[in-house]
Every structure is written in C-alpha cells, then in structure tokens.
Amino acid sequence: MENKVKVSAPLVFVTGKGGVGKSLWAAGLATQLARSGKKVLLVEFGETSFYGFFYGKSFGMDPVAIENNLHLSIWSGATCLRDYIGHLVKIDRLADLFFENKVMKALIRGAPALKELAILGKATSGVRNYGPELDFDHVIFDSYATGHFLALLRAPVGMYEAIKFGPMGDQSKAIVKTMSDPRLTEYHVVSLLEELPVSETIELCDALKSEFNDNIKVVVNKSLRALPTIETSSNVFESSIQRNLSRQNHAWEHLLKHYEPAVEVPYYFESEPQKLVDHMAQHSGDAIHGGPS
C-alpha cells in the first residue's frame, strides 16, 4: 500500500485502546525521526514507566539521552505542575512552600482538571513560547488510552467554558488553540485489526476531528495480512491463521470505510525490546520516506 506517514507537526500525540502498541509505535517513530537527524523528545505520561523497563534505565522529568538526538522523559501531572510553578514564581523556596502545603497537596492530587492542564500546558509550552523551554524539533507523546486521552484533551476546553478570565482561562484557551492547529499538533491513533479496537478508533478519530483538528494518522498494528491466504487446510496452525486473517481483513474493510490507515505495521514475532523498537523504527521510516512497506 501507499504510505502516508509524514510527521508534519512538532507535537505528536500517540493514543489508542489499551495494549494496541502505542508505546512501541511512539518509541519506533521517535527513534526513526532521531536517526533521520531530528532532535526528538519522547515523553511518557504517567507515574510508572514502561520504557524504564524497556530500555533498562530509570527516567524522570529531566530528559535522558537514549541515543543520538533522542531523549526520553516521564511526565506526571504533579511534576508538570511543579515545573510550571517553578517557572512562574522563580524562587525555589516559594515553590517548595507551595508544594509542601497539605491543602495544595490534596488539591494537586485530586482537584478537577489541574493535572490535565499542567500536562497539556507543558506539552504545548514550547510552541506557544510560554513557560520552560522545550528545545526539540519533535516531541512524541506516548499518551493515555482513548477514554483518558479524550478527558485530558477536553479538560482545557471545559475549563475555558467555566472560567473565561484570569490565568486559568487564558492558559486553557491557548492550549486548546494549539491542540486544534494541524500545523502544530498531530494525532496518531494506533489500532489493531479487531472489531473493538477498530470501532474505538473510528469513534476517537471522529471526536478528534470535530473537536480538535484533522491531522490524524491511523496506525494499524500487528497486522498478519502479509501472510499467504489459502482456501482450506486441516493443519491446525493454518486454519487458525486463516481465521485470524479473515477477521483482520474484515476489520480492515470496516476501518477503510471511515479512515484510510496511514501505515500498516506487521506483527513481529520478536520479544527482545530493542529489536522490536528497531523494527518499528525501520517500518515507520519506510512509511515516512515512502520506501517499501
């Protein structure tokens, strides 16, 4: 198939149903962009790290180099807020006082939308020229699964509706503007060729398109469609493969009616983390540069 993954925006949010391969796609894409000479930051959202295990290193908020041009960091709501407040108040002691306050602690842990705004505020700060600088050509976000992801994106929208004025309103508005600009932000929706992930993908793309922007790339992962088709077989392995194939083809047709996938990644029967990332990088590279798929 013709490949259409061209990463045009500086900010790339990778999302999709749980377990579909978001983290691996994000890592492969980031690696590929870095190897082609771009300065790339791969960001994982959350408190515990998948990549930490994957790369056998521990990561935090400060970017750590994993290879030439490629840095990795983990952002949580709390660390993003800390970063932002540190930037605003400039005096460390004041920021410390703020974060040690029992009430603020509880608020930060649980208050509506604060963490979401802090994360998106930091994510968009580079292109908005606001807040601590993020000096990279591309930032790839291995973000949350579908439901959480939409809640994350909708937080500043809702906040702006509730509070129009003051820093909260201003920041929310600026964040939404960035997330809605196809030149600044693109969305990669990873999907498997199974009924549920495909319908979730279609719904998610519809929502992103109508609420944010349409710079969306659908990444089909773990495809078996390159395997040969055969009519019938009494071989248990072959009949299982055929059943899977017909299910995958069916899901593919369904997806195609709504969105044309930008790239189709095969199932790699490989469990070595770095090899998997390399396969992914290679594949997204071919896709980006229009090479063989």
Partner: protein, 357 residues
C-alpha cells in the same frame, strides 16, 4: 480455581485497559452461577456485543441475564459513572437547594469527568451499595481502565484527602478572607501559598473553587463515610482480587509489583489471569504437512516466539505458585458471542488447556 468462590462475597477484577477485564469478569460470573451462587456482575463500558449477551440496556439498572440455565442465578449491571455521581450527590445532600447548587456549579461537570479517581469512586459506590443490599451471594466488580492496575486502589484515598473537612475548611476560610486583598489575618505561610495559587489560577478560578467546596461541605460526612466504607470493604476477608493481565514481560513485571502492593496494603490477591497468552494451536502437536514453505516458516517463527514467552511465564509461576494462583488463558478462536461465548471462556478458566470446542 474453585476456592475463589469459597467464603467470597466480593471479587474485584483489576488490570490495565484492553486486557479482557470485562469479558473475564462476566465469565467468572458464569462460573459462580454454575456453582449455585446468586451473583451480580457490575461491568464498566461493556462492548456492545457483551452488553447484548448480558441483556444489559443503556441504563444503570440491574438485569437478570436472559437465556441462562445455571444452578444459581446470574445478574448483570452497567456502571454509569456520571449518573451515579449525581445520584450520590442527590442522596447525600440535605436539601434540593444544595443539590441544585452543586449540580449548577461551573466546575461540577469538570469534577465529575476529570476529577482523578471519580470513575473509580463511583464504581466503588455502586459496589458498596449492591453488596450491602444483601440481594446477592457474590458481587463481581469490573474496574475502569487505568494505566496501571494499582491506580484503582489509590482512588478512594485521593477523593478522601480532597474532601477532608480540614482541607475544605482551610480553603473556604482562607479563600474568603483572602478575597479581602490577602488580608493580614492569615498566617504568613498560608498567605504565600495562596498568592502562588492565585498567580497560577487567578481569582475567578479560586472563587469558583471555594464556592464549590462551600456547596460540597454538607456532603463531606457522606463522602468521608463512603470512602472509608469502600476502603474497608476492599480489605475485608470476604473480598478477593483477581488481576487480569496480558502477556509480555513488562506486564508480568507490573503484575509482580502489583502483587507486592496488594499484599503490603492488606488486600487479598487470589488469582492472576494471563489472558490471550498463546494461540490454541500452540499446545497441539506440530502439523506434519504445510501448504507452503512460507507458512511453515511462519509456524517455526511463531512457535519460537511463544515458547520464549512461556519461559517468562514459567519463571513467574515458579516465583508465585506457592502464594498465588496463576492461570494462563489461550486466545479463543471463535467469535465470543452471546452467553455461549462467556461459557466458553468460563470453561477455559476452569481448565485452560482443555480443547476449545
């Protein structure tokens, strides 16, 4: 596996999103009903096909699963977080004025959707309510998709911390006084904190937040009680956790640390279900004829891959078998449709290596 239901009144199925939690919760329900229990399965966002199989309609009401013929009885319900949240407020507020004030607050909608832990909180509220109804021998709770299995356990704590009266009072008092241009009445440290908060969020936000806390103060007792009640329920000796996980090294690693956190926290993890661990053909003898060289090559490649994975599993099994039940479930080949689909999975949970049809 059988002893999972012995002296058990609540089963909580945890695990990260997309691993098959909802399907396996319902299948555990089938198993329990087959053993003669009157069981309720509370699902979260069931896929359409699964909802149909269970006879669940769009509302929050519990239904008796249609077309069943078990020794016991199977009921199912769906947790609608937003609705339960507003219901909770209606039931806890002292008057309808208060209800209106809360539901009309500009931050309310944000609260019921993005307050971290709100979905977990509402599912626990529902669990608590159904368990205490005394209508069932067993209630099985499917949990919201979290990034990590452990997130679920921390949710009542988070909500509890946020609504503790000391916090709310601090906020209401100080924000009120604070309005009079950072009055000197406030403690110096507090003043600093408030001014930083003001700088970040602005007075509109602070006003709205303090209004919000003010209108919620009548609910505090109820929120506190519910949080405490659910936390206790999760630690009761008749409550058991089941961890559903997919099969890769990172997830197994996560399962290991989840196990330690559960045990450390005084909860009981009974079983780990590793779902879709291998295809059904993996356990069958090698076919002696292949249609093409490409397919034979693919067979070898996949065989190698799955056996490498099962070594990881063997290690996990070895580390935990004395303390924990670990069950590895194969990929089901046929479409998992209707109650029959759930029965198929239930059979596999009972004996994972048995043939599928």
């Amino acid at each position: 596996m059988k002893d999972l239901f012995q002296n058990t009144e609540v089963i909580v199925c945890t695990g990260s999103g997309g691993v098959g939690k909802t399907t396996l919760s319902a299948s555990l329900g089938v198993l329990a009903a087959r053993e003669g229990k009157k069981v309720l399965v509370l699902t979260i966002d069931p896929a359409k096909r699964l909802a149909t199989a269970l006879g669940i309609t769009s509302s929050n009401t519990v239904v008796r699963v249609p077309g069943q013929d078990f020794k016991g009885e199977l009921f199912a319900g769906r947790i609608d977080s937003v609705e339960i949240f507003s219901q909770f407020i209606r039931n806890s507020a002292p008057s309808s004025d208060v209800v209106e004030k809360i539901l009309g607050n500009r931050l309310y909608e944000q609260l019921s959707t993005t307050l971290s832990g709100s979905q977990e909180f509402t599912s626990l509220v529902k669990l608590y309510e159904e368990k205490n109804s005394g209508n069932y021998d067993l209630v099985i709770l499917d949990t919201p998709p979290t990034q990590h299995a452990i997130d679920f356990l921390h949710s009542p704590e988070k909500i509890y911390a946020l609504f503790q009266s000391s916090i709310t009072k601090w906020f209401i008092n100080n924000a009120e006084v604070g309005k009079s241009v950072w009055s000197r009445l406030i403690h110096k440290g507090t003043q600093t904190v408030l001014s930083v908060f003001h700088k970040v969020t602005g007075s509109d936000f602070m006003d709205e937040l303090s209004n919000f806390f003010f209108s919620l103060k009548d609910l505090q007792d109820n929120i506190t009680q519910t949080c405490k009640g659910t936390q206790e329920l999760l630690k009761e000796s008749t409550t058991r956790f089941v961890l559903v996980t997919s099969f890769d090294r990172a997830k197994i690693q996560e399962a290991t640390s989840f196990y330690s956190e559960l045990v450390g926290g005084g909860y009981q993890l009974h079983t780990t279900l590793i779902n879709r661990a291998f295809p059904a053909w993996y356990l069958k003898p090698r076919p002696d004829h292949f249609s093409s060289e490409a397919l034979e090559k693919s067979y070898e490649e996949q065989m190698k891959y799955y056996s490498a994975r099962s070594q990881v599993f063997d290690q996990y099994q070895k580390d935990f078998s004395d303390r924990l039940n670990v069950v590895m479930l194969p990929e089901v080949e046929d479409e998992l449709a209707g109650l029959e689909g759930l029965v198929t999975v239930a059979n596999l949970i009972e004996s994972p290596t048995s043939s599928q049809s």
